[in-house]
Assembly symmetry: C2
């Protein structure tokens, strides 16, 4: 797939076919993600593959519960606008995708978010180049339950930066309208 | 260029030909960058194009001075390892590239770094797909001089996330060795 095609095809996908994704394919895409640029060649990224809908449902429930508690404690929380959606029992934050890949790393690293975001960008393009769809789902990071953290092998000293759902799309959404790029200054 | 070729060709470039980059081409690449995924479709990115070597030299000198002052004040500063390089008068943090594109945005936005990093990833690929080279140069963000900030049109309430140099590469460095991807858990 050419870069032009990737630009059109890499869209946030929220409707997936009921078709599993092979773990070997995901591993291949993760290897490609590690070619992303990163600060000082530290390659701080770690990956978790959850290729199991039941487990995804459990993580979704855990995240919803914790975000709703956060909103209850602080009505100014940025997730307040999602409250209605989160209170809907049938809503799955992962849109019933068959798979989730989390990109995470040691919390104390200065450039962790940026480096993991760069790897995430590569991962989403690697998926598109194979006809797969993705969506970065920030609502899926709020995991507090110690047993679940243990099951996912998420260490205490790590932060999940990018939870990305993955699957074969029902369709590719059309290219969105973007605001005109804001170029505040050109010095020639 | 296919994704496979992009993966090989998107390398951090630190040696550039003495050949200018057309502003129209940069604007086209910036438009493509805004197709990057971003939190809540907020598209928080702004761009500054510095297509002038003299100005780049001035920004480099300003950044070097400020980082050295920071290191002097705090020997544990992460940039300490660059001290020798920064003390070398002939060292230009932008590697004498002909052009710099800064991606920035409102400092208070929760997802600013991640969103700008995603746009930066797109920008670097857009450049590679056109035979251009880039390098994200974090050392170039330390601009304090009010006159320079005014000249660059950087508002007080904004943060530069990604300063990316751009130009025609002398050569494309070969694909680096990467550590094996650390997949900490697979749940099937």
């Amino acid at each position: 797939m050419t870069f032009d095609e990737l630009l059109k095809n890499r869209r946030s996908v929220r409707k997936y076919q009921d078709k599993p994704v092979a773990v070997e394919l995901i591993q291949e895409m993760i290897r490609e993600s590690t070619l992303a640029p990163n600060a000082g060649n530290e390659q701080p990224w770690k990956f978790i593959i959850v290729n199991n809908r039941e487990m995804l449902k459990k993580i979704s429930d855990e995240s919803k519960k914790n975000i709703l508690a956060r909103i209850a404690a602080n009505p100014d929380d940025y997730a307040k606008k999602y409250q209605g959606m989160l209170e809907n029992e049938s809503f799955n934050v992962f849109y019933n995708a068959p798979c989730l890949v989390m990109i995470l790393g040691l919390s104390h690293l200065k450039n962790l978010s940026v480096d993991c975001a760069l790897a995430a960008g590569y991962f989403m393009m690697a998926a598109s180049s194979r006809g797969l769809g993705t969506c970065w789902v920030n609502l899926g990071t709020e995991i507090h339950d110690p047993e679940m953290l243990r099951e996912l092998a998420i260490p205490d000293n790590c932060t999940i930066v990018a939870p990305i759902i993955l699957g074969y799309p029902e369709n590719i959404p059309s290219v969105p309208k973007r605001k005109e790029a804001e170029i505040v200054k050109i010095i020639r």
